[in-house]
Symmetry: C2
Subunit: 314 residues, 2 copies
């Protein structure tokens, strides 16, 4: 059931002992949302802890700096930034997918799976969490500001993507004013490339194929390339934006092979084109400018499938 901000806050006030879940392949918005909420709960004496179906990359450790995150006997499950229970990951979906009490999300393509859903279409879900924290009258300290800033910066590509609004900048200004260490966060998130990532990017760039007079670029990243470059999936958050950046490219597609041989696909585009519409035809979803889906067939078959859909979209 969809609820509004007041109802969401009432729910949070009336309950306790929270398990906060992020999506798998966690990014700065789902993690920033989760730890901001966890920190806010701690400030008002509520119990909570954060879990993720996948391992959380080390670079995000600043999000829980100075606070505990120990398992408790939870009574209430909240998901953050999760539009579809499948995004919990297989194991967590089986464990918690049908027991979610509250989902706080910002994806318009939300597939309702929770008892209650608080959903507003903001540039990042962290902004929704900030609205919740404000409405709960919990003071935003440096720790919370770091988490919220991290979420905003992640989902807007550091204020680069088309989802950035004047409101996004206003939230960011306030978070920096509240002590968010934007400098260290940006350096960790956007300005640090490991040598293994650089080696991977080089290999990935070499795989790019162009279709439809250069308006579509498909980049492929295989498990073999991860091994050759000593890199891994957790290292390549931003890599999916590369194909779209090539001059003339309207749809940039990145196909990343998973360990089980299936593929995770990221699609990037710009108005008036719609990446979410493309991906929804292939069983996925997301935002207008950035969306994704998965496939579990041979790579060349997967390419044919999306090329057919893209032909219609162009």
């Amino acid at each position: 059931m969809r609820i509004d901000l007041r109802e969401c806050v009432n729910f949070l006030k009336e309950h306790d002992d929270y398990l906060i879940l992020t999506h798998r392949s966690p990014d700065g918005d789902t993690l920033g949302s989760a730890f901001a909420l966890h920190r806010a709960f701690q400030k008002v004496g509520k119990k909570s802890f954060v879990r993720c179906g996948d391992e959380i990359p080390k670079k995000y450790s600043f999000l829980w700096e100075g606070i505990a995150n120990d398992p408790i006997d939870f009574k209430t499950i909240v998901t953050v930034d999760i539009a579809d229970r499948k995004l919990l990951g297989e194991k967590f979906d089986a464990l918690y997918g049908d027991k979610v009490d509250l989902c706080i999300d910002h994806h318009l393509v939300e597939k309702e799976y929770s008892k209650y859903t608080y959903l507003v279409d903001k540039s990042s879900n962290a902004e929704n969490i900030l609205d919740v924290i404000d409405k709960m009258k919990i003071e935003v300290d440096k720790g919370i500001a770091d988490c919220i800033y991290c979420g905003i910066a992640t989902d807007t590509g550091c204020f680069l993507f088309s989802n950035t609004t004047p409101e996004t900048h206003t939230y960011a200004a306030r978070m920096i004013d509240s002590g968010a260490d934007m400098q260290s966060i940006n350096r960790a998130m956007f300005e640090t490339r490991t040598k293994s990532y650089i080696a991977l990017e080089k290999r990935a760039m070499d795989t790019i194929e162009f279709f439809y007079e250069g308006r579509v670029a498909i980049m492929t990243i295989t498990q073999q390339m991860f091994r050759d470059s000593n890199s891994n999936d957790g290292e390549c958050d931003g890599i999916a934006s590369l194909p779209r950046k090539i001059e003339g490219v309207i749809f940039g597609v990145t196909m990343r092979e998973r360990e089980d041989g299936s593929y995770k696909v990221s699609v990037r585009t710009f108005p008036p084109y719609d990446a979410a519409a493309v991906c929804s035809q292939l069983g996925g979803g997301g935002h207008i400018g950035a969306a994704g889906y998965e496939f579990d067939c041979p790579l060349e078959e997967g390419k044919k499938q999306i090329l057919k859909v893209l032909e219609g979209a162009l």
Copy 2:
């Protein structure tokens, strides 16, 4: 002589027939500053035109979209975003360097060369221009907002660099509200990489050498590499940020060979390190996080010079 905002605005009101000069190797801040001022002058019936010692890259054409920029018999020379008259370029320095009436700039290392200087340390000079336009009570239309946003986004690396403040975000929010097409601007400025640029970047990355246990990375771009990749200097605004992004690197140095065989050097770092302090020892200057200088000796000699200075800075 240093003047304040009120005096600067009085000067601009009392004069007319402006030649507005940008620095050579023009970027989005010097050009955004110049065309915002030019557009503002047009709105109040003052005559002006913008010139640059180097050719202006095509991607900036949105800055003068819909307005004329024809030479006039100018009486007053204003420079924007120019800390040192040498940055006018050799030809323009000879023509105008000692005739500048007003300099509007944001570099603390400013080497005063103009009759009057209005200088405030903002993240971009475009913000100073906006203050001037506001104080002149000229309404910010879409064209001006585009120019100011372009300047802010350029000098903060799209709100990524450490010079970004809450005020920067507040200015940006206002410009987007005033109609700045941040989406197209960001796409043109940050999200479009030509195939020739990509080829150049690949070659450049291969030249990176590490010093002092990986804390210094030096990347070299030669004229030969421009030729081999069919690229040019105007295409590689952002390339200087690459060496610093490598994990463990504190000082990222980029040496770009000019056509005359001299080198333009960009130095990038993060607090508590100071790129401007390093470059000022080598005859240059800039900001704490990003600064530059030039040298006109053999490349290996140039490397030795900066490595000596960096040894002291580390």
